[in-house]
């Protein structure tokens, strides 16, 4: 698998007197994300006094700390020490694989994208048609097939509460890439499946957005009222490191799930899994098949 190498040395910089920001790599890659995750997990385990936030991101991470408890230089040294100590073993991740139902080509994102056509690169086609064409697919269905057949990694949660960024688990040359809107929309339906650059996302709340819109999921992923079983522990569902498989569904299934959501009985299909970066990189396609067996097996 051709992957850009992760530079052996990350770039360390201060975000004021309360944050250390660490850029593992300027460009996005799975190894860069994994290295950041491994460092963040180790930092959490060490329970360093003064650390108040540990935020892994796509190819970087940041730590917020109280400089009255730990001096900025000491905080940075601590992270550099952890970077040196993180070995291959820590590139295994105890996580979960989740199946997220998606109604691609749905009426609500269609209505929205038509309202904002003048902000789009190609006002004469839909977001899906545009994405399919520039990624060299003959039909929208083939594009949806490519989008939904391999799993995706949640490489960051944020922007707004509970919004996951997802990175496709295939070779870089097979990754779907679409630019963001020329100018951001002022509206995006809640639970829209979006895509910008090489990242997909699920808009956790309704609001502004610049990603292309491919569909919607009926499954809430952020809910302050915590009505669903999988949101009982925390109002935010996704965590960095989660693995997601999109499941294309039709309108009757969408409506059926919406009813279950309203009744408070809907459960997202998910299974615990150990992800090995090394095994994945050796043969992504066959490793992905194993992951899907974990999801669908007994």
């Amino acid at each position: 698998m051709s992957l850009p190498p992760v530079s052996s040395k990350a770039r360390y910089t201060f975000g004021g007197d309360e944050h250390v920001f660490v850029e593992i790599s300027e460009s996005m890659s799975l190894p860069a994300f994994f290295k950041g995750m491994a460092i963040c997990s180790e930092l959490k385990k060490r329970a360093v006094p003064g650390v108040t936030e540990i935020c892994p991101a796509n190819a970087s991470y940041q730590v917020r700390f109280d400089p009255d408890v730990i001096a900025p230089e000491a905080m940075m040294r601590c992270l550099q020490d952890i970077e040196l100590s993180v070995g291959d073993a820590q590139m295994d991740l105890q996580t979960r694989i989740v199946e997220v139902p998606v109604l691609y080509n749905d009426p609500w994102t269609y209505e929205t994208l038509m309202r904002f056509r003048e902000r789009h690169q190609d006002p004469t086609s839909t977001d899906l048609e545009y994405a399919a064409r520039i990624n060299h697919f003959k039909t929208v269905d083939e594009f949806i097939q490519a989008h939904s057949s391999s799993p995706w990694f949640v490489s960051m949660v944020g922007f707004v509460a509970g919004l996951p960024f997802l990175f496709q688990m295939v070779e870089q040359e097979r990754q779907l890439e679409v630019p963001k809107y020329l100018s951001p929309r002022t509206d995006t339906p809640k639970l829209t499946l979006g895509h910008g650059g090489c990242f997909s996302c699920i808009y956790s709340v309704r609001g502004a957005g610049g990603y292309q819109m491919f569909g919607v999921t009926p499954a809430p992923i952020f809910d302050p009222t915590q009505n669903l079983p999988y949101l009982k522990d925390l109002m935010v569902f996704f965590k960095p490191g989660d693995i997601v498989k999109w499941k294309p569904i039709d309108r009757p299934e969408y409506d059926r799930i919406v009813k279950e959501v309203e009744a408070g009985t809907y459960q997202l299909p998910m299974r615990p899994v150990t992800f090995s970066l090394k095994a994945f990189l050796t043969n992504p396609d066959s490793y992905n098949q194993e992951l899907l067996q974990v999801l669908h097996g007994n």
């Binding site: 910089t13 975000g15 007197d17 944050h19 300027e26 996005m28 935020c55 509460a161 302050p224």
Partner: protein, 324 residues
């Protein structure tokens, strides 16, 4: 007891010391934007640290107390009036059941804090009573207050002192011209040399888009980034990066045009290069800037940032002592 909102003001929310620990899930700190004024208000009415108050932006609300209460107002410069009678700012006063609290327009400053002995007693969400409007939780039903809202007030732990006042020397100095100290860093190296110079030399004015999420500034020279081949996943504009976490106080400049400083309801990450961070000691100052007020960005190093932080901590200690 309870407080009734007769008029809501422009953007009045329940806030406290904030909600740390969830930034990695996109849930920001929230809490009072001017933490110094917030703490002063609580100390004046004898509330414990962390009690919730009202934060009022640019235009104050009108309130009615349904029982006897002890109240203090701090922050923005405006005259509180109890049943039309002028009361002192930065001083605790008693209100009787049925009394109405009103305010003049804001002469200076952008955020007023109203504390009541016992604290605003809305439910804790993830350890805080602060309102996070974007996520629609915290505070009263996760939103800014509207006319007719009724806010429960907790039981005061001790008998609050009436007429407790903050010595003049320890009061907030408000100004229409503010210097914000900035520690360069993050993606500062991507900025062209002349842009580094103009960023710190220019006078920037607060744009109308200034709220709890971030403050946008305009009027300075547009900034230029070094050209580069976009890294995989970053996006094509030179101001783009692979989406990353945004520190509180960090300054991003989408397309090089208008700097945005993220504040306590920050979006937790995104794809714009940040060129530095406003130091922790100066974050409260931003909260008191009205649209069109002007700012100069002053370049400092880490030692200066820590010295400013220590100075602030010392001032807060003196204030606390004076109000104990």
């Amino acid at each position: 007891m309870a407080i009734e909102l007769l008029k809501p003001g422009l953007a009045t929310t329940v806030q406290d010391a904030g909600r740390p620990g969830y930034y990695h899930l996109g849930i920001p700190l929230s809490g009072a934007m001017d933490q110094e004024s917030y703490q002063l208000a609580n100390w004046l009415v004898g509330n414990p640290d962390g009690a919730a108050v009202l934060e009022c932006t640019l235009m104050a609300p009108e309130l009615r107390f349904d029982a006897d209460a002890v109240v203090a107002v701090t922050g923005a410069q405006t005259t509180p009036k109890l049943n039309g009678i002028e009361m002192a700012r930065n001083t605790s006063f008693a209100a009787k059941a049925g009394d109405r609290l009103t305010f003049d327009f804001f002469k200076l400053g952008a955020r007023l804090y109203i504390a009541v002995a016992g604290g605003i007693d809305v439910p804790l969400v993830l350890g805080s009573r602060s309102t996070y409007a974007l996520g629609a939780f915290g505070g009263l039903q996760g939103r800014k207050l509207v006319a007719g809202d009724v806010l429960p007030v907790g039981q005061a732990k001790s008998t609050p002192v009436i007429g407790k006042t903050l010595p003049d020397t320890l009061r907030l100095r408000l100004s229409k011209e503010v210097q914000l100290r900035v520690l360069p860093g993050l993606y500062f190296h991507r900025l062209q040399k002349e842009s580094v110079q103009s960023f710190f030399a220019d006078t920037w004015r607060v744009a109308p888009e200034a709220d709890r999420i971030g403050y946008r500034y305009k009027g300075g020279t547009a900034l230029k980034f070094h050209d580069r081949a976009p890294p995989f996943g970053a996006g094509s504009d030179p101001s783009n990066i692979v989406d990353a976490g945004y520190p509180y106080g960090s300054i991003q400049v989408p397309a090089g045009r208008e700097p945005i400083i993220l504040h306590r309801d920050a979006v937790s990450g995104g794809g714009y290069a940040m060129l530095g961070t406003v130091i922790s000691a100066d974050m409260d100052l931003i909260a008191q800037m009205q649209p069109n007020h002007s700012a100069r960005f002053v370049r400092v190093d880490m030692d200066e940032a820590l010295a400013a932080r220590a100075e602030r901590r010392q001032r807060l200690a003196l204030q606390r002592q004076a109000l104990n």
